[in-house]
């Protein structure tokens, strides 16, 4: 008799549990659909200039060869530093998350002084630092740090890559003299897509 009761009771439990899981699944499906719809709506939106610039920062890392002493520091992440007031916000971190360059993971760091650029491979100079660009460049000179900025005349002033707007499109200029001086080798591919490649003599030389 008892056995019969047990077996009779068992499907009751199961049905209850099934109902729970079904409900849960429905909820998840509905939620995911919502998330997907939102994100796809966001994705379809034209990327902002800073999103593009963040992606370019990462891609520069792929087309530039750093001297071997820098790249030999294995185990350390490839670091993209932002000096000054950060114009990217979370966009940069989102862009770099999960990417790898030369087998190393890529991270973003915010620094407040050029002296902190010791472990940086790429240094983005916020437009807020425009007043003392030359000083910063002097600090990072010969440290094999690729300097990038979107402030005007950055390349003329000794910066390596300067974002420029060509209509709606974000493009960049390259100061080949500066990069060669810092011991960095830029891929011809990168040069091919640059708007301008400067080969100016170094200021102060």
């Amino acid at each position: 008799m008892e056995r019969t009761n047990h077996t009779a009771a068992f499907p009751e439990h199961r049905r209850l549990r099934c109902d729970h899981s079904l409900l849960l699944r429905h909820t998840i499906v509905a939620f995911s659909w919502l998330v997907f719809a939102v994100s796809s709506a966001l994705g379809q939106q034209k990327p902002t200039d800073f999103q593009v610039k963040a992606a370019y920062l990462y891609n520069f890392g792929r087309f530039v060869e750093w001297p071997t002493k820098v790249t030999a520091a294995q185990g350390e992440p490839f670091t993209v530093c932002v000096l000054g007031q950060d114009p990217f916000g979370p966009t940069l971190d989102a862009t770099l998350a999960g990417e790898r360059i030369g087998g190393r993971s890529v991270v973003a760091r915010r620094i407040s002084s050029p002296q902190e650029s010791e472990h940086c491979q790429i240094l983005f100079l916020s437009p807020t630092e425009g007043s003392h660009v030359s000083k910063i460049i002097e600090v990072v000179d010969k440290k094999a740090v690729l300097t990038v900025s979107d402030m005007p005349q950055f390349a003329e002033r000794g910066g390596m890559i300067q974002f420029v707007l060509d209509g709606n499109r974000v493009r960049f200029e390259v100061n080949l003299t500066a990069t060669q001086h810092a011991g960095l080798t830029l891929s011809s591919e990168l040069l091919k897509v640059a708007t301008t490649v400067r080969r100016d003599p170094l200021p102060g030389d």
Binding site: V52, Y56, N59, R62, S187, E189, K192
Partner: protein, 781 residues
């Protein structure tokens, strides 16, 4: 091509060479072509892939930094490759980044999917080769290159290939043809020559021709050698055959010459033999007449003497007459047998086969045999079916039966028994005669059928026979398409079985009238024959009495007194003969019984007994009393006394014969039977008598000087008033079948002097003359 089987060997070889080389070349070309096509296509794909990779690596930065212009520049460099129809760069998402058309045409194509896990895929579409190459930069999928190339290169290659293949094929075939033309001579020419040689040999039959050897050492030369060897052998055999043939022909000629001589000799001998046969026939004919006529007189007169019609004889005389009778009868039998045998051997025996019942022929033979059997107290019994037709010559059939039965009687001791058994097999009739005689030893069983053979050691009776009976019997049976067999055990008896064709098959053939059979009388006789009831317990005794009475009386029989009383009441016989010593009661009781019954009280009853108790018999009411053994004439005479016979006409019988002794014999026989007779010695005289006097019948001899019997018959039948006059012919002549036919047609019966004729003659005459027999005191012959 369809009739390639009938081509000559050289053509076949050429064809074969061409076919083989052609097929081989075609196959080779096809294989090369297929392989080249395959590798070429792979090459194209490889080239395309290389190109795609170059494009990919050249456009990585353009994609990465979204510089479609740079990509376009890169793609436009493809103008240098005329085969590339279309090229395009796609972002990793599959969006077209940059596109290039060789002919400046159209929109960008959508990116085809490539299988996951592969960086490249190529396929054929619309006669073009399509290739998708993923662009990977630093381990990261950066975009896709899509190329489409036309296959004009392949088409061109195909065309040039076809031209080359055709040229190679053509040249190879021509070369193969030339080579086969030259090489086949080595093989086919000797074969062709051999074939020609063989044809000539078989056509001209000239086996001296030889095939020419090739001088090589191959199968063909072996074949030629073998053929030559064969021809050699054939030639040898041919000449041997020819020699044998010539020899044979020579021998045949020799033999033919010998044969011709032998033939001439044979012809001469044949003629001699023919002459001798003719002489023998003549001799036989004259023998039959010349020997039988005087012998007939001896037999007849000794019979008459013995029956004491010419006066009483004393015992000695009786004995002497009996010796004469027996001796002459034996001599007559011997002469008849020898004549029969001679006729059979000379092939002159004429058989007149017909279908008739055995039961028609048997009683007559039995009536002759029974007296002989009775004398030795031998019981003769027969089992005879009613319907047992046999196809045979009636006279000869009786002779066969008579021979077998007399043989059986001869070799069966006193108180023995003879059984006759007749039965039908599928298509034959078997008649067996079994006796309880001395038997025949196994080694002698074949000899008994040979002429003049008698089994040695047999008793004195054996010598009574001529030794010809069984030999004649065997030949007669065989000549009628039958067979005879013998089973015998010494001391127990013998059984002769004759098998003759059944008359059932032959019954459709209308049987011609028999020789000595009673013929239908021309004058109808309405008189009913008197009925005699024979009462005797012994079968053979009844049979004997019946045979005595046969033609003149109707017979009824009874085995016992009781049966006799019944039948007497039932049938009202004219006379009853009664035995006394019977197994079931005495005949005297039966006599008393018959006399008591008013219906039978007045019947004449004649007692026939072995015991002589006449006083008792007469006292009990017997009409007459005879003591056994009873002689036939005595019985007939006695019965005659009590049977009322009608006597109408007393017409005389005219006897015609040139032999006075025969005339006297006939006269005596007929007169003693109660007939008036008149004798004349020539045919002419007979016709004179007939023209002036009315006679009851004519008894006519055939062989007479002057007018013979046939002429007399013709004259009588021409006379209107004499057309129905009964004529009987009595002759010693051997009748031919035509003569028999004539006699059957024109006369009422004919008798041959060598056969027992008296009784039958009297019976026949009695039938046609309204019973002219009169009871007389004198004995009857």
């Amino acid at each position: 091509m369809l009739n390639i089987k009938n081509y000559s060997i050289s053509k076949k070889l050429t064809w074969m060479n061409m076919l083989v080389s052609g097929v081989a070349l075609l196959l080779a070309c096809a294989a090369f072509f297929a392989y080249d096509l395959y590798t070429f296509r792979i090459g194209i794909a490889h080239n395309l892939s290389t190109e795609a990779q170059i494009i990919g690596s050249n456009t990585v930065s353009a994609i990465v930094f979204n510089d479609s212009h740079a990509a376009e520049n890169t793609l436009s460099a493809l103008k240098a490759s005329p085969n590339i129809l279309y090229a395009a760069i796609y972002t990793p998402d599959g969006d077209t980044f940059s596109a290039y058309w060789r002919d400046n045409g159209g929109k960008a194509l959508p990116l085809p999917a490539i299988p996951t896990g592969q960086t490249q895929a190529h396929w054929l579409v619309d006669g073009q080769m399509a290739l998708v190459q993923s662009i990977v930069f630093q381990g990261k999928l950066t975009g896709f290159v899509y190329l489409r190339s036309d296959l004009r290169a392949i088409d061109g290659r195909l065309k040039s290939y076809a031209v080359i293949a055709a040229t190679v094929l053509l040249i190879s075939l021509v070369v193969a043809l030339l080579i086969s033309r030259i090489s086949q001579r080595v093989i086919s020419e000797p074969v062709v020559q051999l074939a020609q040689t063989v044809r000539i040999v078989s056509h001209e039959k000239n086996y001296s021709i030889r095939a020419v050897p090739t001088g090589h050492r191959d199968e063909v030369s072996t074949l030629i050698e073998s053929v030559n060897e064969m021809l050699e052998q054939i030639q040898q055999r041919d000449s041997a055959l020819q020699q044998a043939h010539d020899e044979l022909e020579h021998r045949v000629q020799e033999r033919t010459a010998q044969l011709a001589v032998a033939n001439r000799e044979l012809d001469l001998r044949n003629r001699e033999v023919e002459r001798a046969t003719q002489m023998k026939s003549k001799f036989l004919a004259s023998m039959s007449h010349e020997l039988r006529t005087p012998l007939n007189a001896i037999v007849g007169f000794s019979d008459l003497l013995a029956e004491q019609t010419a006066g009483q004889l004393n015992d000695k005389q009786k004995r002497f007459v009996n010796h004469i009778k027996q001796g002459s009868a034996h001599l007559l039998q011997l002469i008849n047998d020898i004549l029969d045998l001679s006729k059979i051997e000379a092939g002159q025996l004429e058989l007149r086969c017909e279908a008739f019942q055995v039961s028609d022929a048997l009683p007559e033979v039995l009536s002759t045999i029974r007296p002989l059997a009775m004398a030795k107290h031998i019981a003769v019994q027969h089992k005879l079916g009613t319907d047992l037709p046999v196809y045979a010559d009636r006279v000869r059939f009786k002779q066969i039966l008579y021979n077998l039965l007399s043989n059986a009687v001869k070799f069966t001791p006193k108180d023995g028994r003879i059984d006759i058994d007749c039965y039908q097999t599928r298509d034959a009739v078997c008649i067996s005669v079994a006796d309880t005689g001395i038997g025949i030893r196994a080694e002698d069983q074949k000899l008994v059928f040979e002429e003049f053979r008698q089994v040695e050691g047999s008793n004195a009776n054996a010598h009574q026979g001529t030794g010809l009976g069984l030999a004649i019997t065997k030949r007669l049976v065989e000549q009628q398409g039958g067979s005879i067999s013998l089973e015998s055990e010494i001391g127990k008896g013998s059984r002769f079985t004759v098998t003759l064709p059944s008359g059932r098959e032959a019954s459709s053939a209308s049987p011609p009238p028999a020789v000595a059979a009673p013929l239908a009388p021309a004058v109808a006789i309405s008189r009913i024959k008197p009925l005699v009831l024979i009462v005797d317990d012994e079968f053979s005794a009844r049979e004997l009495l019946a045979s005595y009475l046969d033609p003149d009386y109707r017979i009824a029989t009874a085995e016992s007194g009781v049966e006799a009383l019944e039948k007497a009441k039932q049938l009202h016989p004219d006379v009853i003969t009664l035995d006394v010593l019977m197994a079931k009661g005495s005949g005297f009781e039966t006599l008393v019984g018959l006399r008591k019954d008013p219906e039978t009280a007045k019947l004449p009853i004649i007692i026939l007994s072995i015991v002589d108790q006449k006083e008792v018999g007469f006292a009990l009411g017997a009409t007459d009393y005879l003591v056994k053994p009873i002689r036939k004439p005595a019985l007939l005479e006695t019965i005659q006394k009590y049977v009322p016979t009608q006597v109408d006409d007393d017409s005389a019988i005219l006897l015609v014969d040139d032999d006075p002794k025969t005339l006297e014999l006939l006269q005596e026989a007929l007169r003693s039977a109660g007939y008036e007779t008149q004798s004349v010695q020539s045919g002419a005289r007979a016709l004179e008598v007939l023209s002036s006097k009315l006679v009851g019948a004519v008894l006519l001899d055939l062989l007479m000087p002057g007018m013979d019997g046939f002429q007399v018959i013709r004259h009588i039948r021409q006379e209107e008033s004499l057309r129905e006059l009964p004529i009987f012919v009595m002759t010693a002549k051997n009748l031919t079948s035509e003569e028999m036919d004539l006699l059957s047609r024109e006369t009422q019966g004919f008798f041959q002097k060598h056969a027992p004729w008296q009784k039958q003659l009297l019976a026949e005459i009695a039938r046609v003359t309204h019973g002219g027999r009169r009871a007389k005191g004198a004995g009857q012959g």
